[in-house]
Every structure is written in structure tokens, then in C-alpha cells.
Amino acid sequence: MTDATHNTARSASITFGQFLPWLVSALFLLVMPLIFPSNAALTIMNQMAITIVFALAYNMLLGQGGMLSFGHAVYMGMGGFMAMHIMNWIEFHELPIPLPVLPLLAGLFALGLAMIIGSFSTRKAGTVFAMISLGVGELIAACSVIIVAFFGGEEGVSGDRTYGLPFFGIEFIRQIEVYYLTAAWLMISAVLMYLWSRTPLGRMANAVRDNPERAEFLGYSARWVRFYSFCASGFFAGIAGGLFAINYEIVTEENLNLAQSGMILLVTFLGGAGFFFGPIIGAILFTLLQTVLSLQTEIWQLYLGILFVATVMYFPGGLAGLLMMHTIPLRLGKLHLLFVPYLKMLGPALLCVAGFVGVFEIVFHIRNAAPGDTEMTLFWITFDSHDVLPLAVSIIAALAGFWLARRVVPELSAAWTAANTPDTERLI
């Protein structure tokens, strides 16, 4: 990249602007374990990191390539299985392969698989691609219980990451060591995937997503562009699988079944498929919901389902899209116009959500708790779930919140329009 030095001032500043978030992220990853040193926190953060890598890989398809896959867990899972087998082989044959390169090998294996599957599945985008991915996903998931030699049946394959051979004195016994390994791979993968999106192929993936036909008339075969994106996505998914194997030291059928594939679609879409950092938000949010919300309520999946459907219907850009909607007001320096309406909206919206949560939780408690056990705690208030009052309060809160929120809508949308239009008043 010798011509980098010849860049205009403008693109140089972009380069620094682009560099800064990565630096901050890296520092952030370094510091996190100092703030949350417990093993459980490290485990959760590892889980987040793995989900981020997987979601970013998935978004190379969905967001950047416009390909909807219902079976992408296959590549992560297969990478994980391979990593597990390699781990065991290394231990058995005492091969001099250090643990940190394992994700790379897993990625390469997934890449090989993606090349085979992609050779026929990427011929068409859209529904055909989605259906083939579904079919292949189901097939491999079904095989995983039949072909025990590779998949180990429903018990999966397990191994021991501490197979000797310390890597610069690190044996990966402690969780913190695994955390830094995972974090390092997260940074490497994320940077590579970001850079990928800046390459000619990455740009053409966007072009093919938007308008495959036009791309064809620019000299690019839409199919080959899709194929390369697909392979790259498979590779990074495989890396996520390798990291999974190192973290949990076990890989099972659940790593490649349809539920897992659906999960990553949900994560990516919730975060926002349209932006590079969308899946990162999605992965963090989802892992938190999964680990924290599921401790709080049994019906967390119901909330997740509602959240997902609402996102598809009202915020197809996901959370990232929601955030990025504010760049225009920010650029116009009019973000402050939105503060007051947002605050006004916040109260009723929270009231409405809390009301609905109350209704759901109370009804669920009445139906599922042990008889006689009528005491329940919600929002730090303990009350009798069979009493009419709490239910009535919840319903009223939900309806009132909804009604109040509706009343703020005109003001909010007016403010939104104002914040998005450049100043003209001064001219008058």
C-alpha cells in the first residue's frame, strides 16, 4: 500500500477517523476483565465475543450480500467440530500445534465446506438461496445424530484445551487467558471483515445485493460475487466455531441446528443488518437478554419474539439503523430539538411496556405457579398475583401509557421533521 502516503488530506482524516473506533474497542476489550473479573462474567463476555464474530460473518451474507440464510449455523458448527477433533488429534499424536491457531484451522475447514455448498447454492439469491440453505441446514443437522463418527451423536465431541504445549507460557487453564485469546481473535476477525467490506469484492457484494442485474452489466458475475462472499462468511463463521470449541471444550448438535441458525438471523437483524456495527450491538444485546433476562423471567422468549417482530415491522434497520437515523440531526446540529419530545415519550412508553409486562407476568404466574403460591415480585414490588388490583393496575398502566404515548406522537414527529430539515428561517 505505497500509495497510502499519497492520499489526500481528506481521505487521510477518514483513515484516522476509521482507526479510532478500533483503537477504542481494543482498549475496551483489554480493560473489561479488570472491571468484571469473575469467571461467570468472563464466560458471558466470551460468549458475546463468539456471537459477535458469528453475527458479523452472517451479516456478510444478509446485510452486505443480501442473501438470507436459514442454515448458517452449519459453518460455525462444522468449524467447531473440526476444531474439537483437531484438539483431540493434537493431544493424541502430540503434534506441535499451539492452541491459538485452532480457530484458523476451523475457519479453513468451514471455508472448504462453504465452497462445496456455495458452488450450487449461490447460483440464485433470494428465495432459492434461502430454501437451499434451509434444506442443507436440516440435512447436516439431521446427519449429526446419524453420523456418530464425526459428530459424536447427541453428546457431541469434547476435548481438553490444556493439551500441553504452553503457548508463550500460557496454558489456557484460567478463564482469563481464554478471554484474551477470544478477544484477540475477535479483533482480528472484525478488522478483517471490515476491511473486506472495503475491497473491490466487498463493494461489489453491496452492488449485487442492491441490483444484481446492473452488476452483471458492469462485468461482474453476480453469482461469483455471491460465491466469494459466501465462502468468506463461512470462513469467519468457522472461526467463531473454533473459538466456541476452545471456550466450552465441547461441540454438540445444537451448534449447527436450525434453532442456532434462526438465532443468528435474529441477532443480526435486531442489531441492524444495514451497518457494519449492527450485528455487534445485536450480539451484545442478545447475549445479555439470554443470560440476564432469562434469570428474571421465564417468558423471556415471548418478549424476545415480540421485540423481534416489532423490529421487523417498525425498525427494519434494527438498533443500528435507529441510532444512525440521528446522524442527520446531529450533522445539522439540531439533535437538541429531539431531547424534550424523547423525554416526553419515554415516560408513557415505559409505562406502557411495564403495564404489558405486568399483565403477561401476572397471567403467567396465575397459570403456572404452584397453587397457594400467590405471592410474586415484579419491579421490586411484592404482591398477591391472584388479587384483582395488580392486574387492573397493569392493564390501566398499559392502556394509559399507550394513550399518552399516542398523544406525544404528533409533537415527536414534528420535532423529527424539524430536526431533519436544514435551517431556512434565518434567511427570512
Partner: protein, 256 residues
């Protein structure tokens, strides 16, 4: 292999059927290098189908298409494009979610030799950036450089489309109704643009607006019911009684 003396485009006995209906019924046409050629004809004559046959969107039922002397019939569009033919579309066909700059840059990538590269950074190539900016300058969209293409006005989008079409440096440019749906001033602007950017290149266009056709084209072919009934200079075609009978008279009347 490019034969240096071969015509830019040659159609020989080209036919296309959809089911039982034959839309193109044996078209023979030779277009010389550097020529500006217009194809006109009444609605449903098969102009767009002919376009799609030449550019590889459809596979001909029989007959051949030669680009610079090379048989390209039945090749995929991207292969035909790589051999030096580029086209625009009747309905604006750009990448609406990408910026204007990126639209043009994408259309430069293949011809600049980047192919399916994933080891170059597009932002790092000064050559690419400069070439892109030069084209933006040429199509007068420099001011819109960083806007998403989808938010441009209709005329701007058409200009962008023409920019994308010629950016790759193809020597045969095919434009499908470049001025469709435009006001008079917009049309004038686009016609001038086309004249500028296709300087020294072979241009083939389908157009309804007769003032555009007669203003731009060196030669005109008239397509009626899947056959070419006349080819010649604007004057020849205008004078051809068959053309007047079949098409031109009615069209000219409608025009004024």
C-alpha cells in the same frame, strides 16, 4: 480475438421466440465503429427485446451477435460486458443504497483490473478515486458525490446511469430510451451529455423522442414487428415511404 477491421456490432439472422410467439423475426444489422445508431419503432415492435438479445439478458432462439467480430450470442451479460459492451436501462437501474461516488466507482472496478480482488482497499487507490471523480465531473454530479443515489432527482439518476454505463470504458455503448419521461430542458441536457461522453465510441440507442434521434444519430434502423424495415441516415429514413407508412408519420404527428 478482436478483429481490428470488424464492425463494432453485427447481428445475423437474429430470432427470438417466447413460447409460440416470435418477437424478433430475423434481424440483420451491421453497425460500424464510431457510429451513432438509433433503433426506432412503434410500441411492441421488439426494440427492448432486441436490446436484451444483444446484451446477453436473453439467449437468442437462433442467429448470432458479433461484438467487434467475436460471436457473443448466448454469453452471460458480464462476459459480454468484459468484451467491451455496456448498456443502460429503460427503467433507471442504479444502486440506490450506495452513494453516487460508489455507483461510479463500482462500474470502474472491473475495467481497472480489480476483478474479484479482496486484497486491495478501494479507498486506498488514488487512481480509482481520481478516475471516479473525473467521471462525476463529466456527468456534473460532483456536488452530489456523497449522497445515496436513491435520493437524486430523476434526471440526475438518468445522468448517473449514463455515467455508470460509460465508466467502464466500453467502446460500444447501448442506451435504452435515455430520455424517457424527461422534460424538454432535461432532455436537452441529457442529449448533450450523451454526445460528450460517447465521443469516439460506438453508440446504439433505442429512443422514442424523434428530436433526440434525429439530433444524435448518424444512422437509424426502423424495427416493426420484429423486423428491420429500413436502415439509413436520418434523411434516408425520413424519406422512406415504407417507414412513413408503417410508423413515422403517425409518430411524428403524435410528437407535434
Amino acid at each position: 480475438m478482436n478483429a481490428p477491421d470488424a464492425p463494432a456490432l453485427e447481428l445475423a439472422g437474429l430470432r427470438k421466440s417466447f413460447g409460440k410467439t416470435e418477437i424478433i423475426r430475423g434481424v440483420d444489422l451491421t453497425i460500424a465503429r464510431g457510429e451513432r445508431h438509433a433503433i426506432i419503432g412503434p410500441n411492441g415492435a421488439g426494440k427492448s427485446t432486441l436490446f436484451n438479445l444483444i446484451t446477453g439478458r436473453y439467449v437468442p432462439t437462433s442467429g448470432s451477435v458479433y461484438l467487434n467480430g467475436q460471436d457473443v450470442s448466448g454469453l452471460a451479460p458480464y462476459k459480454i460486458n468484459r468484451l467491451g459492451l455496456s448498456r443502460s436501462f429503460q427503467i433507471t437501474n442504479i444502486f440506490p443504497r450506495m452513494t453516487v461516488f460508489e455507483n461510479v466507482r463500482c462500474s470502474l472496478l472491473w475495467s481497472k483490473g480489480y476483478r474479484y480482488s479482496f486484497w486491495h482497499m478501494v479507498g486506498r487507490s488514488r487512481d480509482l478515486t481520481e478516475a471516479t471523480d473525473a467521471i462525476l465531473e463529466q456527468i456534473n454530479l460532483t456536488a452530489r458525490r456523497d449522497l445515496p443515489a436513491g435520493v437524486l432527482s430523476y434526471a440526475e439518476q438518468r445522468a448517473l446511469e449514463i455515467g455508470i454505463t460509460m465508466a467502464g470504458g466500453a467502446n460500444v455503448i447501448m442506451l435504452d430510451e435515455p430520455t424517457a419521461g424527461m422534460s424538454h430542458s432535461e432532455t436537452e441536457y441529457i442529449v448533450n451529455l450523451i454526445r460528450d461522453v460517447t465521443e469516439g465510441k460506438t453508440l446504439v440507442m433505442v429512443e422514442h423522442d424523434m428530436s433526440v434521434v434525429f439530433g444524435l444519430a448518424d444512422r437509424i434502423s426502423v424495427l416493426v414487428y420484429g423486423e428491420i424495415i429500413a436502415t439509413g441516415t436520418p434523411e434516408e429514413v425520413r424519406a422512406d415511404p415504407r417507414v412513413q407508412e408503417a410508423y413515422l408519420g403517425a409518430a411524428l404527428e403524435a410528437e407535434h
